[in-house]
Symmetry: C2
Subunit: 354 residues, 2 copies
């Protein structure tokens, strides 16, 4: 079990430290090596995804990532921005299947801005395609052209999917739906975009191999509405990279506790990168108050998906449930009557609960 650790920027190193402590406590016979990604990597090497990191990530079975980015790198040219590192590692490792659960822990039901009857027991899985779509399509750029003697700038990007790219992410989603409720909702904009017309066609074709899964289709604008109106109508949602970026963040926020949500990005052989859904939170970095649970739960996802160590994954997940039950809360999920703790103490509590 070779794990590559990428703490990244902002609160990344703090939350990563706790996940590493949890992994070590499980006595798993794994090796962990650390490397640079994002803003810190730019500062140290001039590259958000340096070669040393590339070698380590390619050689590892799994990558555990903290978070990347921060305002100090916003003014850099596009190619040097921290998120370029993220996009590059996704593409280089072929991590096309992004799994983003949106789960509302009963203990945190109050954290949501939605009425409790609307979100109580919420448990959605968003399956987002991660290496295609308008994120990577060519041609793209900004060009200046002469229009009637005036210079004018034009921006353009290309949305693009092949049927095999669509089919492989649909298969991941059908498999996931089969293991859950047997319901899959595919989200597209087929009434406007030909790319997503093909998406819908391939979804319908792929459904023939999964007679036990009920496939439905929804337009992306309607999906954005239905997530607010009645999120519990969904079980597994599958969609493209761009729509998935928007809908998975919307769904995560329905829980009100985005500091709790892990994610997995998998290749075709269950190699994966695991990271919290939240960002690098530069405003609270270095204060020891960030919530490490999403990173700890990302480590659990890693044990489950890449290493098939369901026992160890379950132990971590149970420990997290237990500390919530015991009333431990970091600032982001704190409520009156609960016990507010910092990053390290939350890690201690999880270790104790293991």
């Amino acid at each position: 079990m070779k794990i590559c650790l990428l703490p990244g920027d902002g609160i990344g190193p703090e939350i990563m430290a706790e996940a590493v402590r949890v992994l070590r406590a499980l006595d798993l016979d794994c090796t962990m090596e650390e490397a640079l990604l994002g803003g810190g990597a730019v500062d140290a090497t001039g590259d958000p995804y340096p070669e040393a990191t590339q070698r380590l990530a390619q050689a590892a079975d799994a990558v555990l990532l903290g978070a990347v980015g921060g305002p100090q790198w916003d003014a850099l040219p596009r190619a040097l921005r921290p998120e370029r590192g993220l996009l590059a590692i996704r593409q280089q490792l072929g991590l096309f299947a992004n799994l983003r659960p949106a789960i509302l822990y009963p203990e945190l039901a109050n954290a949501s801005t939605l009425k409790s009857e609307v979100v109580a027991g919420l448990d959605i899985l968003i399956v987002r395609e991660l290496t295609g779509d308008i994120y990577f399509g060519q041609p793209r750029g900004i060009e200046t052209r002469d229009v009637d003697g005036r210079q004018e700038r034009f921006g353009f990007n290309t949305m693009h999917y092949s049927e095999s790219e669509i089919r492989r992410i649909l298969r991941v989603a059908f498999e996931a739906a089969r293991k859950r409720s047997g319901r899959l909702c595919s989200v597209d904009k087929m009434n406007v975009l030909e790319t997503t017309q093909l998406w819908r066609d391939v979804a319908i074709e792929t459904a023939a191999d999964y007679p036990d899964v009920v496939l439905s289709h929804m337009l992306v604008d309607n999906a954005a509405m239905q997530l607010v109106r009645n999120p519990k109508q969904f079980d597994v949602i599958v969609t493209g990279n761009m729509f998935g970026d928007i809908l998975s963040d919307e769904a995560a926020m329905l829980t009100g506790s985005i500091g709790m949500l892990p994610s997995a990005s998998l290749d075709a052989n269950n190699k994966g990168m695991y990271e919290p859904c939240h960002g690098s939170a530069p405003d609270i970095a270095g204060q020891g108050i960030a919530n490490p649970l999403a990173t700890i739960l990302s480590a659990a996802m890693m044990l489950r998906y890449t290493f098939a160590r369901h026992d160890a994954a379950q132990r971590i997940e149970n420990a997290v449930k237990k500390v919530l039950g015991q009333g431990y809360r970091t600032a982001d999920i704190h409520e009156p009557g609960m016990r507010q703790v910092g990053t390290r103490e939350m890690g201690d509590a999880v270790l104790a609960a293991l």
Copy 2:
């Protein structure tokens, strides 16, 4: 005042009838002529935007639209689908500025799935660009190519904006923000899409002409989250066609009463098309139970934006507030203790309140 009426499909004709009664009651010295758009137009003429409708719409000062679409037209080839009519009229008339208010009426605060303290008093204006972006960009399509001896389909679309397209919608948004709170949030995905990097650059340049407006920027995934987390942080939001489609529907649903929300789509000279935010609701069409208030409020927007008849617009808006205060509710916004009425009775109530 020449008004072109396009009742459209589903509940369109029913809700349009009530808006027309309200307009007539105002004694405005206007002419109203009706034409076909959408599914009904396809059935009658084979074209979702027939030539007779084009002539009428081009000659009119304003268009009032009910809604288009329905399941019976879903299997038609793309070019014949009802929504093609909608896209064609937007483009032909140059209706680039789509204004979508998301307002929560105090009387309907319970209708929202969000906690009342999160949405009470909500009043956001989304300004969506409507004639550019990936909706209309070329090249686009689905192609079959030979890949290593296999036939494979590829889907592609082009996101595209010129700086002048961006500037003119930004100006509309800055003007709107100036008349409201003086705060404008521009939404893009500049960390991934060059097109929206240009969007952000032009937004910053345009801001120089509006020193009294505070411009902020937000990434689209974050905007989808922030609308759920704390929607009242926003006043005016401006964004492109695709992101605007998603975010405006999400914002509308925050109110829980989408049957109340009008919209305007304007050209450069305040010619406009006005329509409710909701769809054609084929499931309840013909039953006389649809909510006509969004269409009636769309007529008010028409009087305000195209005809500068603020007095008459205000009279309609006041009448709608009054009937809500009197407890009149159509089924979609009904609550115990209120007076449930049908489409026609709601129209009667508004007429009485005028």
